[in-house]
Structure formats: structure tokens, C-alpha cells
């Protein structure tokens, strides 16, 4: 366990280092002179202003020196300042992040909770007649764009319940009912495609487990079908399922960025898209860094929890 953790920790550091290098290089890889492009919107740019901004961004130093000073700042939590307002970018990022995380966590929970009974049921009633239909439905679900589903929901709500305010955002603290009413449709739009994908994963790992000898033994002992399915099969089928849950969280976050736009929710998506349109590169850089590092850490912790629970993982 200790050796496994140590090895995974080294992996983690390497990946984080690589991620930081790529994100650091972002602003430096912009074709042409980044500073010129940044100041492009202003009509009267003096060479002095260019020098000032270049110095402010640290672009006048050798690359290695730039990276080490940038990394040092980053590790101390200074992720840079907005080019336009001069405010620390962390402020804005952490103001918006909780909204998008809400749109990641709730759909994941909803889809995860529904996927377990559904996946087990589908695997248990497995036969060649329904096989094709299930396969079609899960694939269709996976390929449904959540942002289209959200648009469809808004239209349906408009037709069926015209008084329901479906778009916009109010904080939970000021108006709990209004908050939940506005979050319901985006959560559902994100959860349904995720549900299809999770059901598919659980179904196939259940079918694999159900073919194994110990399941036949359990059935032969005369255990009830429910006991065999839930106590014996599901436990082992959960391993790939929970791993998928961790990996899908990143995909769901990406989906939430897009779905936010549909429902006019001022979350992380609007922040980063706005930052790109304003060429506010320090904000773009820091946003991607915070979220990616967050997901890398979450998946690292999930991996370690696994090794703690399942001794077989260590030998994998």
C-alpha cells in the first residue's frame, strides 16, 4: 500500500508539473507578439506601455526564469492579475467556481444514484431481445448534447408551464426556492446523458461479473436473486463504475461550462469565455490551472481510496 501510494504520488507530481508547464507556455505560444495582441483593442498604444505590460507579465525575462518565478508565485497562491481590472484572478475564479461545481456534483450524484438500480436491472433481465433496444437507448443518451437537451427543456417549460422561470441565477441564500427552480433543468439536462453513460458501464461490468463461478455457486446455494445481484455481483461490478464516476466528473464539468450558457448562469463558463473574448490571458491561464489541478487531485485521492479498499489494485 505504501509503495503503491508513493508511486502514485510521484505520478501525480509529474502530471502536475507537466500541466503547469503547458499552461505556463500558453501565453507564450500565442502566434505573434502576445503583448501587441493583448493591447490590440486600444487604439493608442505607446512603446512604453508595451514595455510596462511586458514587464508586468514577466515576458522580458529568459524562459526558464519566467517559469520558475511563475511557479513560485503560483505555489504561493498568486495566480496573477486580471489585465483589465488589475484584481487578483483568484477572486473571480473562486466566486464563480462554486456555481459550476454545483452543476457538476448534483448531476453526477443524480446520475450515479439512478444508474445503480437501472444498470443492475438491465443486467439481470439481460436477453437478446431487449439487448439491442438497451444498446440503442444508451448510445443515443451518450451522444445527446446536454446543451441541446437544456434548450429543449426550456422550450417545453415555456409551453407547458409558462410561469416557471427557467433561466438566470439567484443564490440559494437569498431565494432557496428560486435557486432550486432555476437549477432543476440544467441539472437534469446534464444528468441524463451522464446516466446513459454510467448505465452502460455498470451493465457491462455486471454482465461480466454475473458470468463468474462464484455467482453460480451463490445461486446454487439457493440464495435469492436479489441477494446474489446486490450483495455478490454489484460489489465487484462497482469497481470500474466508481472509477468511471471519477473520470466522468471532468467531462461533466466541461458540459456544465456549456450548459451554463443555455440557462444564463454566471458560472465558470461565462468567466472563461468572457476572458478569452477580452484576451484576458492571465485569467484564462489561472482558470484552466485551478480546475485541471483540482481534477487531478480528486482522481489521485479516488485511486488511493481504492487501493485502501481493494487489495487487488496494488498488483494491477
Amino acid at each position: 500500500m505504501l509503495r503503491y501510494s508513493a508511486r502514485r504520488f510521484v505520478d501525480l507530481l509529474v502530471v502536475l508539473f507537466g500541466v503547469s508547464v503547458l499552461i505556463f507556455l500558453m501565453i507564450r505560444l500565442i502566434p505573434g507578439d502576445a503583448v501587441q495582441i493583448l493591447l490590440g483593442a486600444n487604439s493608442e498604444v505607446t512603446p512604453a506601455q508595451i514595455q510596462v505590460l511586458r514587464h508586468k507579465l514577466g515576458l522580458d525575462l529568459p524562459l526558464l526564469a519566467q517559469y520558475s518565478s511563475w511557479l513560485g508565485q503560483t505555489l504561493r497562491g498568486h495566480l496573477g492579475q486580471s489585465i483589465w481590472t488589475g484584481a487578483p484572478v483568484t477572486q473571480e475564479i473562486f466566486a464563480r467556481l462554486p456555481i459550476t461545481l454545483e452543476l457538476t456534483v448534483f448531476p453526477l450524484l443524480l446520475a450515479g444514484l439512478l444508474a445503480v438500480p437501472l444498470g443492475v436491472f438491465i443486467a439481470a433481465t439481460h436477453n437478446s431481445g431487449t439487448e439491442r433496444l438497451i444498446r440503442f437507448l444508451t448510445i443515443a443518451g451518450i451522444t445527446t448534447p446536454a446543451f441541446w437537451l437544456g434548450t429543449l427543456f426550456i422550450y417545453l417549460a415555456f409551453v407547458l408551464a409558462p410561469r416557471w422561470v427557467t433561466i438566470g441565477y439567484v443564490p440559494f441564500n437569498t431565494d432557496p426556492a428560486g435557486h432550486l427552480g432555476r437549477m432543476a433543468l440544467p441539472v437534469l439536462a446534464l444528468a441524463l446523458p451522464m446516466l446513459a453513460s454510467l448505465v452502460r458501464i455498470l451493465r457491462s461490468s455486471m454482465l461480466e461479473v454475473l458470468n463468474q463461478d462464484y455467482i453460480r455457486t451463490a445461486q446454487a446455494k439457493g440464495l435469492t436473486r436479489a441477494t446474489v445481484l446486490y450483495r455478490h455481483a454489484l460489489r465487484n461490478a462497482m469497481v470500474p463504475f466508481v472509477t468511471a464516476l471519477g473520470l466522468q466528473a471532468g467531462a461533466l464539468f466541461g458540459g456544465a461550462i456549456v450548459v451554463e450558457q443555455v440557462f444564463a448562469i454566471p458560472g465558470f463558463g461565462r468567466l472563461i469565455v468572457g476572458a478569452i473574448n477580452e484576451r484576458n490571458y492571465p485569467l484564462v491561464q489561472a482558470s484552466i490551472l485551478v480546475v485541471t489541478a483540482g481534477f487531478v487531485l480528486v482522481n489521485f485521492i479516488v485511486d488511493l481510496l481504492y487501493a485502501a479498499i481493494d487489495p487487488r489494485v496494488e498488483y494491477a
Binding site: 505520478d11 509529474v14 502530471v15 507537466g18 500541466v19 503547458l22 499552461i23 500558453m26 501565453i27 505560444l29 500565442i30 502566434p31 439491442r132 444498446r135 440503442f136 448510445i139 443515443a140 451518450i142 451522444t143 445527446t144 448534447p145 446543451f147 441541446w148 437537451l149 434548450t151 429543449l152 426550456i154 422550450y155 415555456f158 452502460r200 458501464i201 451493465r203 457491462s204 454482465l207 461480466e208 471532468g250 467531462a251 464539468f253 466541461g254 458540459g255 461550462i257 456549456v258 450558457q261 443555455v262 463558463g269 472563461i272 469565455v273 478569452i276 473574448n277 490571458y281 484564462v284 484552466i288 480546475v291 485541471t292 481534477f295 487531478v296
Partner: protein, 288 residues
């Protein structure tokens, strides 16, 4: 010198078996239809997606405009057809980049081994650490928008999956007897890779290409929807959905149809890839 191998039985039968499988057939029909619409858009709708008819704003579906018109009196069906073209162009370009570059990286890593292998695969791990959409957004932010840049951004996102896909079988093949034989006969590294290793992985590659196209279409649509993909008025399906969302309650057709078209495009490639996987890869048969 040529070595005659026993003819592969599965090859001639794949297409026949594919069209006898309802889901495979559906995938084939959907993708075929899409490619047809994309290729013959000019012939089918010579007026083009930008032709406006100010007198025919927000018309419901009719004989003249099968799916109605939008805020500028532009025909929704015509715009969807051109939307397929824009979406497919970017997605196919992206997957080609990913398959060629990513696949080569995987084969080279496996074939050369050692530190080259470690460096390449580490790089791929690092790319995989980013949430897909966020990585694509970041790359577009650097490169700027446009058809080629969007394709390149999505292509980079999919490098790791192709590199990993090709590395495994290439590694197995590297140790196999017929590759050793080719080496012993003095074949160059490049010849071994392209003449002996790549053809043996082509089935897996075909499946992965189809499945990657399915998700690339969704990523392209997301980027365009955010206004970071192909630029309006050139109507990619995602930007069309974003644009027509503003008058959703007045005229729902353009928004709903363009989104449904994204679904159909992605669904077609996924069904095709999934069915091909069943047919071509006996090890995976019965699994998913």
C-alpha cells in the same frame, strides 16, 4: 520477398454482417446520409445558407421551407445541411490529425521503447489530465478561432487516446515472431512499422476513428456553441443552435433541429463504431 498468408476470412464478410445488424445498418445509413448532405450541399441547396428573405421571417414549416425560416428569413433545412458540412469538416480534420499524429506517436513509442516511450506516454498522460472541453478551449484561446484551428485543438485533445490505442498492440506485435523475422531479414524500422505493424492494427484503428468522430462532433458543437469554434455566419451546427436560442419561444425550429442534427451525427458514428467493434474485434464481442 512475399510471404503468402492464409486469406483472412473476416475481411470480405464485415460489410455484409454490418448491414445485417440493425444498429450497424442504422449507423451506416446515418453517417452515409450525413456525408452525402455535406458533400452535395451546393447541389441540394444552391442558394446557400446565407440567402435571406426578409419577407419570410420566422415562417413555420411549409412546402417551400420544410423546416421553416429564422430571424432573417433563412431556410432552416438549408442551414442544417451546411451545418453538417461545417461540423463534419472540423471533426474529420480533428480525428485525422489525432489518428495520424497520435497513432504514430504510439507506434514509435512501442517500437523504440526506453526513454522515448516513457517521454511520449508521459506527455499523453499530461494531456489526459485536462478536462476535454477545457483543454480544447485553452488551445483555441492560444491559436485563435477558425476552421483549421478548431480542428487542430480538438485533434490535440484526442492524441492520447490514439497513442494509447496503438501502443498496446504495437508492443505485442514488436515481440511477435513475424516482426522478428522481418527484422532479421534486414527490414528497416520504418518498413516494419508501416508494412507489418500498422496493417495488423487497422481494425482497432477503424473502430476508434469512428468512435472518436462521434465525440469530436460533440466537442466541436460545444466550442461553436460557446462562440469559440467556426465563426458565424458560416453556420456550424453548434453556432446555429446558439444563435437561434435567442428567439426560441418565437420560433423553436432552428434551435431544436440544429441540436437534433448534432445528436444524429454523433449517434451515427457511435453506432457504426460500436457495431464495427463487435464485428472486427472478437475479443470484445459480448462486452462493451
Amino acid at each position: 520477398m512475399t510471404v503468402s498468408l492464409p486469406a483472412r476470412r473476416s475481411r470480405p464478410g464485415v460489410f455484409q454482417r454490418l448491414i445485417h445488424n440493425p444498429l450497424g445498418l442504422l449507423g451506416l445509413v446515418l453517417t452515409g446520409l450525413m456525408v452525402f448532405l455535406a458533400v452535395f450541399a451546393n447541389v441540394l441547396a444552391p442558394a446557400g445558407p446565407l440567402s435571406q428573405d426578409i419577407l419570410a421571417q420566422f415562417k413555420p414549416p411549409s412546402a417551400g421551407h420544410w423546416l421553416g425560416t429564422d430571424q432573417f428569413g433563412r431556410d432552416t433545412l438549408v442551414r442544417v445541411i451546411y451545418g453538417f458540412r461545417a461540423s463534419l469538416l472540423v471533426s474529420v480534420g480533428a480525428v485525422l490529425i489525432a489518428a495520424l499524429v497520435g497513432g504514430s506517436l504510439g507506434v514509435v513509442a512501442a517500437y523504440l521503447g526506453g526513454w522515448v516511450d516513457r517521454v511520449i506516454m508521459r506527455l499523453m498522460d499530461i494531456l489526459l489530465a485536462f478536462p476535454v472541453i477545457l483543454l480544447a478551449i485553452g488551445i483555441v484561446a492560444v491559436l485563435g478561432q477558425g476552421t483549421f484551428n478548431t480542428a487542430l485543438a480538438i485533434g490535440i485533445v484526442y492524441l492520447p487516446s490514439f497513442a494509447r490505442l496503438m501502443r498496446g498492440p504495437a508492443l505485442t506485435l514488436r515481440g511477435s515472431e513475424f516482426v522478428s523475422a522481418a527484422n532479421a531479414l534486414g527490414a528497416s524500422g520504418r518498413r516494419v512499422i508501416f508494412r507489418h505493424i500498422v496493417p495488423n492494427i487497422s481494425a482497432v484503428l477503424l473502430v476508434q476513428t469512428s468512435l472518436a468522430l462521434s465525440t469530436a462532433i460533440l466537442v466541436e458543437a460545444s466550442l461553436s456553441f460557446l462562440g469559440l469554434g467556426t465563426r458565424p455566419p458560416f453556420p456550424s451546427l453548434g453556432s446555429m443552435l446558439a444563435e437561434s436560442r435567442t428567439f426560441l419561444t418565437l420560433q423553436p425550429w432552428p434551435a431544436l433541429v440544429s441540436g437534433f442534427a448534432i445528436l444524429l451525427a454523433s449517434l451515427g458514428f457511435n453506432l457504426l463504431g460500436d457495431s464495427l467493434r463487435d464485428l472486427l474485434d472478437p475479443r470484445l464481442r459480448g462486452r462493451e
